[in-house]
C-alpha cells in the first residue's frame, strides 16, 4: 500500500483532540497516512498554510473556510473536529462587580472577542441579536483569550466572549462572572472545526482522505474508552499545566459531515453578517465519509 505524508495544522484547542489521539495512537499510520502535526500561532493563518502548500490539511473554523471559498480559494472539507453543543464552559465573562446581568446591559459597553470575524465573534453577535440587542450599540474589540481575567480587572473591557480554560480561570480568580452561554444559539450538530484541504490535493489523494476519515472515527471511539491516554495527548499538544488538563471536560466529538446539519447554520450566519455575499455550495465543499 502506498503511503502519503500529510502535514496537519492545528491550534491548541481541546476540540481538536481526535486528530491528536489519531496521531498518537497510530490510527493515521494504520491507514497509510503519515501525519505530522504542526501548531499554528492563530487560527486565521491555517487556511493560508494549506493554500500555500506548507501543510496539506488544516483545522480552521467553518466561518473562516467559507470566507476563503467566497474569495476564490478552492477548498474541500472531509470531517469535523467536534460538534455543538459545547460541553466546556464558554460564555460571556463580565466583571464580578460590574452589575451587568444580561445581554441588554452590554449596550454601550466594550466586549472583547478573540478575533473579529472569527467563530466566537460571529456567534456572540448572533447571540446578542437573539437577545434583542442591536450589535451596532456594542463596542466589540479584540483581545487575546489568555488575558480574559487581566483585561477585565484592568478595565480594558467590560466583558469577554471567552471559552475554557480562560473563562473558568477568570471566574476562579474572582475577577469575573458568567452571564450566559452565547454558544447556545448554535443548533446542535453544527461543526465547531473542520478538516480542510485544497480541492487539488483532495482530487489527487482520495485514498489518503478516506484513510484519515476512518482514522478519525477510530480515534473518537478510542477517546470514549481511554480517558487517561486522551488527556495525555491534550497535555502534549496544548502544553497546558497538567492540573488544568485534568479538569478539562472532553468536547462533543465529531466525525462525518452532513452538509446541511453540520455547516448550514454557519453558511446562513456568514451571509447575514456580510462575511460572504452568496451562499457557498456545501455539497461541492464537503467530501462525505465512505459508506461501508
Amino acid at each position: 500500500q502506498e503511503r502519503t505524508s500529510v502535514t496537519l495544522l492545528y491550534t491548541a484547542t481541546t476540540g481538536f483532540m481526535t486528530a491528536w489521539v489519531a496521531a498518537d495512537q497510530g490510527f493515521f499510520a494504520d491507514h497509510g497516512v503519515d501525519v505530522d502535526l504542526q501548531l499554528a500561532q492563530n487560527g486565521s493563518i491555517i487556511v493560508a498554510g494549506v493554500v500555500s502548500g506548507s501543510a496539506q490539511v488544516g483545522l480552521p473554523t467553518p466561518t473562516v473556510a467559507l470566507q476563503a471559498i467566497e474569495n476564490g480559494l478552492d477548498l474541500r472539507t472531509f470531517a469535523s473536529t467536534n460538534i455543538f453543543p459545547e460541553t466546556s464552559n464558554a460564555g460571556v465573562v463580565v466583571g464580578a462587580e460590574s452589575g451587568i446581568e444580561a445581554a441588554a446591559d452590554l449596550v454601550g459597553k466594550t466586549v472583547g472577542v478573540p478575533g473579529i470575524g472569527g467563530l466566537l465573534d460571529v456567534t456572540m453577535r448572533q447571540w446578542l441579536i437573539s437577545q434583542g440587542v442591536d450589535v451596532g450599540d456594542v463596542n466589540i474589540v479584540e483581545i487575546a483569550l489568555p488575558q480574559t481575567g487581566d483585561a477585565i480587572r484592568a478595565g480594558q473591557v467590560d466583558a469577554v466572549a471567552s471559552v475554557d480554560p480562560f473563562s473558568s480561570r477568570a471566574v476562579d480568580m474572582g475577577v469575573g462572572r458568567l452571564i450566559g452561554n452565547y454558544l447556545d444559539v448554535i443548533p446542535d450538530g453544527s461543526a465547531a472545526g473542520i478538516f480542510v484541504t485544497t480541492a487539488e490535493w483532495a482530487e489527487e489523494h482520495p485514498e489518503a482522505i478516506t484513510g484519515m476519515q476512518l482514522a478519525l472515527a477510530e480515534a473518537a471511539d478510542f477517546i470514549r474508552e481511554n480517558d487517561a491516554e486522551a488527556r495525555e495527548s491534550i497535555t502534549r499538544y496544548t502544553t497546558l499545566p497538567a492540573p488544568v488538563v485534568a479538569n478539562v471536560p472532553f468536547p462533543n466529538l465529531g466525525g462525518a459531515l452532513e452538509p446541511e446539519t453540520s455547516l448550514g447554520f454557519w453558511n446562513r450566519l456568514a451571509l447575514e453578517q456580510g462575511l460572504i455575499y452568496e451562499l457557498v455550495d456545501l455539497d461541492t465543499f464537503v467530501i462525505p465519509f465512505p459508506t461501508e
Binding site: 501548531l39 493563518i45 493560508a48 500555500s52 480554560p165 502544553t239 497546558l240 488544568v244
Partner: protein, 250 residues
C-alpha cells in the same frame, strides 16, 4: 567599573519589579515576578528544544538580514554613485520602502507558506530599504574632494568602490548594519509571533497562549540578550576593522 554603572539602572528596575509583585501579592496570567522568570530561563537553557528555537530564529533572521543588507548596500552604492539610476528609481523605492513588512505578511504567507522561506523573505524586505537609504545617503555625503581624487586618478569603477567609497562609508554602513540587525530581529520575531511556527517568537506565543507568563518573559529576556550580544559583537568588529579611527582623537 563602567560595566557596573551600566548594570546599576537595570538591576534597580528589576528589584523594583520584584518588590511590586511581592508586595501586591499579584496572581496573574500575564505578569510574573523576576525570580520566577529567571528560574524559567535557567530551566529553558538546559533544554535542547530551546536552543533549536534560538537557532531557527537566528538562522532565518540572519539569512534574511544577509539578503536584505546585501541588496540594500548594493543598490544603495549604485544609486549613490550613479545619480540617474537613483533618481529614476526614486518614486518606486519611496513607495515600497515605507511598506510595513508586517502588512505584506498575509500575502507572503499565501506565496511562501510557513518556514524559513517566509521569514527570510519578509526580513529581507524589511531590512533592505533602510539599508538602501542609509547607504545612498552615505555615498552621497562622501567628501567631494575624495571623489575628485578618485576621478583624477582615473580609478576604475570597481576600484573606486573598493578603495574610496566603501572605506569612506563603512563606519556609517556599520550603523546601518547594526540598525538593520535590530530591525531584522524584530521582524523575525514578529513574523514568528504572528504566523511562522518556528523559532523564539513561536515559543513566546505558545508560552503566552498556554498561560506560562514566566516562560514568556524568560523568552523575551533571552531575545533581548541575543539582540544585545549581537550589537556588542558588532561594535567589537568595528574597532577591529577600522584601526584608522584611532587618530581621530585629536
Amino acid at each position: 567599573m563602567t560595566a557596573l554603572k551600566g548594570l546599576a539602572l537595570p538591576v534597580a528596575l528589576l528589584v523594583l519589579w520584584q518588590l511590586a509583585v511581592v508586595l501586591s501579592g499579584m496572581q496573574s496570567d500575564t505578569i510574573a515576578a523576576p525570580d520566577a522568570i529567571f528560574a524559567a530561563l535557567g530551566r529553558a537553557l538546559t533544554e535542547p528544544a530551546f536552543w533549536a528555537d534560538t537557532g531557527d530564529t537566528l538562522a532565518a533572521g540572519g539569512m534574511g538580514l544577509a539578503l536584505g543588507f546585501g541588496l540594500g548596500t548594493l543598490s544603495g552604492v549604485l544609486f549613490g554613485l550613479i545619480p540617474p539610476v537613483g533618481r529614476v528609481m526614486r518614486v518606486t523605492v519611496e513607495l515600497l520602502r515605507p511598506l510595513p513588512a508586517i502588512a505584506i505578511l498575509p500575502i507572503a504567507l499565501l506565496i511562501f507558506g510557513f518556514g524559513y522561506r517566509l521569514e527570510v523573505a519578509i526580513v529581507a524586505f524589511g531590512t533592505c530599504f533602510p539599508v538602501l537609504v542609509l547607504t545612498e545617503a552615505a555615498v552621497r555625503q562622501i567628501e567631494p574632494r575624495l571623489s575628485e581624487v578618485a576621478r583624477a586618478l582615473a580609478l576604475s569603477p570597481g576600484a573606486r568602490v573598493r578603495k574610496i567609497v566603501l572605506p569612506a562609508v563603512l563606519p556609517r554602513l556599520f550603523v546601518a548594519l547594526r540598525l538593520a540587525a535590530g530591525i531584522g530581529l524584530i521582524i523575525a520575531i514578529t513574523v514568528e509571533i504572528a504566523a511562522n511556527p518556528i523559532g523564539l517568537g513561536a515559543r513566546l506565543m505558545q508560552a503566552s497562549n498556554s498561560l506560562r507568563p514566566a516562560d514568556m518573559y524568560a523568552t523575551l529576556f533571552w531575545i533581548g540578550a541575543i539582540g544585545w550580544a549581537l550589537n556588542w559583537g558588532m561594535l567589537r568588529l568595528q574597532l577591529w576593522l577600522f584601526p584608522a579611527t584611532r587618530g581621530a582623537a585629536q
